[in-house]
Symmetry: C2
Subunit: 441 residues, 2 copies
């Protein structure tokens, strides 16, 4: 295509992120044109209700409620999908690709459920599918996996990719707040939804991990492959004990190859305090990647918000638009290998932290140790905390040596049946986040 | 080009990094071919002495001592330059581009001195020039500035981009070592050269900052534009005092737009202890970038070493090779705007830390305060440290409010002339690393 011939963009969705993209396209048109080598022109916007009042004044671009009108507009070469939710976004993306349009999406749910198929479809149709905005907000983690580390074999990813929960955990650790109060504060500040389950229960992080793992390990991973747990079991005292033991507690998204199998899991974890990852606080995200050439990398930044997500979306749009102007390809197609075997959470071997409420009387520890010993779980350290003499209860905190998840789960059941055990306060997996060993690949 | 038709690579240099590239090309050929869509074949290697014993057994690829033989080989489409030093590397890169070859280089000196010209030459010849390996080792910071943040206006970069000095400063801070001992330890561990000046005096960081700033601010910056100072003035006590005041000391490379002018400077700086940047220890590098959409980003990783640098080089090689196979472009050409005005170090306005050895007698502080006051430098805090009653000297540590560099330099001269001042122990600029204000662009 001739230089100076404009590249047409169609926008699907005009919510918070859509408004950010609209503003970028209209308010920094000169900057974008300089980067692309031709003007980027917003040709049309798909909305649900064309008569609604909006945060921005839409002029120039026409509003439409018909997806077909937008998708079939011959002046549009790039579709930006920022509607969110699975359908109809997924159907529109498919349709756009089938019509030969390049697509840029920030839709983590669609990518986590249908990413491998959509990437294959885009390759077969010779168009680009950009999804930098679907994981990690403004952090260019998709580019890292898609381009920058392609000469590496990636052994592990340890990531904080949900800002809402990281804010909540930070406040629990630093202020001693309990979970409910921290969630309420997060809601007041707009960091958490009125119904916080999607973040708090780990599903948002699981979506992002599926997409990230697909690229990093070059193997299709879907959200249903990801084991996930949220942060609801955590109490303020867990943070206090973790700190005494030299750890921080983070909701980690982990993708890791061990003995040739891929683990993909999201759960709260105790990580060594001196790791940079442990120092990521508030709504910030960070993704730590271990590659066999590059060693350890960490990327840190804002994982959500209209402007950071717009930054990511526009990077993809500009990359694709340059390719159109220069009549070349741009975003490399993603070539996945045949699926790696996925290992079950039950096969996990790691150290565990157990917090148990017990009756404060002699012989309790012996009974607990026996249950653990019977399951081949060896105790590394045990501390009796906070005796409540009135209620005649005590709290016991145990760190185990490396144990198998399945055994720990069975032991927890066994412990609950002991009459001296009042309650299993919590259990947490300990992640040392060590660089993977050569042999683990 | 047809798929499966191999892409030919010519390697210039077979030192530490060259050996890393050689190993990657030969030992992970399958992985690379899968990414490229065709085999990457090493066709020839330029060396100074073809008969020398090598760390790797070179077979297949032919060794040559003739640059012309390599550059004119029609089976070679990509030249990888890892010779280091300005000449003849610069001449070879120019020649390669003129012959229509794509070039990937890890040469920070060539890029810092001739980057803008070489980028323009590459664009005019329609070839790619990759230089990810020239800054930040395995950290994909060039890709960030070149591609991932293109929709942003970047306001500031604060970077730790010399691992040798970061190791030295970390040891001085954590172990209380003095500079000479820390340098000696770094040499023993292979982190510092026998002559450490290149790292210790800040030139290595200045090279990298020139290249990084050229891309980030889209304006040609050459190493001669960069103000740089090394770490030789630092004493163990500076780290102690910094810590008491809530700061860490890092050798920072700073690129920053203020009032429309670009500052590019390398010097030791006091930064707030709670910044993630302050927690980057040992030989690791980290680059903090503030973009107007993305907010604050930080990238952390290994800034040197054969394998991390190979990771960066191979990312460029694969990107270019994919473009060759798919008959498309790949690395976007770099479009620089007309030069921004560069601001002199003398115009810098920041807070300063002064450590002054004085005679331990009455009225000293009044004399010092008068010199500072005459230069319009206002004192934020002053602490008298470590009186040495035998020598009748004392040490005064002053933190100033925001002051102008030119005034501080004049004041330091004035202070030296006071009979009560034995010595200016040190002065350090304080960088709060705040996100740039809107108005500063």
């Amino acid at each position: 295509m001739r230089r100076d011939h404009p590249v047409g963009v169609g926008l699907m969705g005009l919510g918070v992120v859509g408004t950010g993209v609209f503003r970028a396209l209209t308010q920094r048109a000169d900057l974008l044109a300089a980067q692309v080598g031709a003007p980027l022109v917003l040709k049309g916007i798909l909305v649900r209700d064309a008569s609604k009042d909006r945060a921005v004044e839409v002029h120039g671009a026409s509003l439409t409620t018909s997806s077909e009108e937008l998708l079939r507009d011959p002046s549009i070469q790039i579709i930006v999908e920022v509607m969110g939710a699975e359908e109809p976004a997924h159907a529109y993306i498919q349709r756009a690709i089938n019509l030969g349009k390049h697509v840029v999406t920030a839709n983590k749910e669609v990518m986590a459920k249908h990413g491998p198929e959509l990437l294959a479809l885009a390759e077969s149709k010779g168009v680009c599918l950009g999804f930098e905005g679907s994981v990690g907000g403004g952090i260019p983690i998709i580019a890292l996996a898609r381009k920058d580390l392609v000469a590496n074999r990636i052994g592990a990813i340890h990531a904080i990719i949900n800002g809402t929960t990281n804010y909540i955990l930070t406040q629990m650790a630093e202020q001693g707040w309990d979970l409910d109060y921290a969630v309420q504060k997060a809601q007041e500040l707009g960091f958490a939804e009125p119904d916080p389950s999607y973040d708090v229960d780990g599903l948002d992080a699981a979506y992002k991990l599926a997409t990230l793992s697909t690229l990093a390990f070059r193997s299709p991973v879907r959200v249903q492959d990801v084991y996930y747990e949220g942060i609801r079991r955590l109490r303020a005292r867990d943070f206090k004990y973790a700190q005494e033991l030299g750890y921080s507690i983070k909701l980690l998204a982990i993708g890791k190859i061990e003995n040739g199998s891929l683990q993909v899991r999201v759960h709260p974890a105790m990580i060594p305090q001196d790791l940079l990852l442990a120092k990521v606080t508030g709504v910030f995200n960070a993704i730590q990647v271990d590659g066999d050439l590059v060693g350890r990398l960490l990327l840190y930044g804002r994982g959500a918000g209209a402007e950071p997500t717009t930054s990511a979306i526009m990077a993809d749009v500009i990359d694709i638009a340059r390719g159109i102007v220069e009549e070349t390809g741009s975003l490399p197609s993603v070539r996945l290998e045949t699926g790696r075997s996925l290992s079950s959470i039950n096969a996990l071997i790691t150290r565990y932290y157990l917090r148990i409420d017990v009756a404060d009387r002699p012989g309790v520890l012996a009974q607990i140790a026996k249950v653990l010993g019977d399951m081949d779980i060896s105790i590394a350290s045990v501390i009796q905390k906070e005796t409540n003499s009135q209620a005649q209860t005590a709290e016991i905190v145990i760190m185990t040596h490396e144990s198998r998840e399945a055994s720990v789960q069975k032991a927890l059941k066994g412990l609950k049946e002991l009459s001296v055990v009042k309650d299993i306060g919590n259990f947490l997996r300990v992640e040392d986040c060590a660089t993977p060993k050569e042999g683990s690949r």
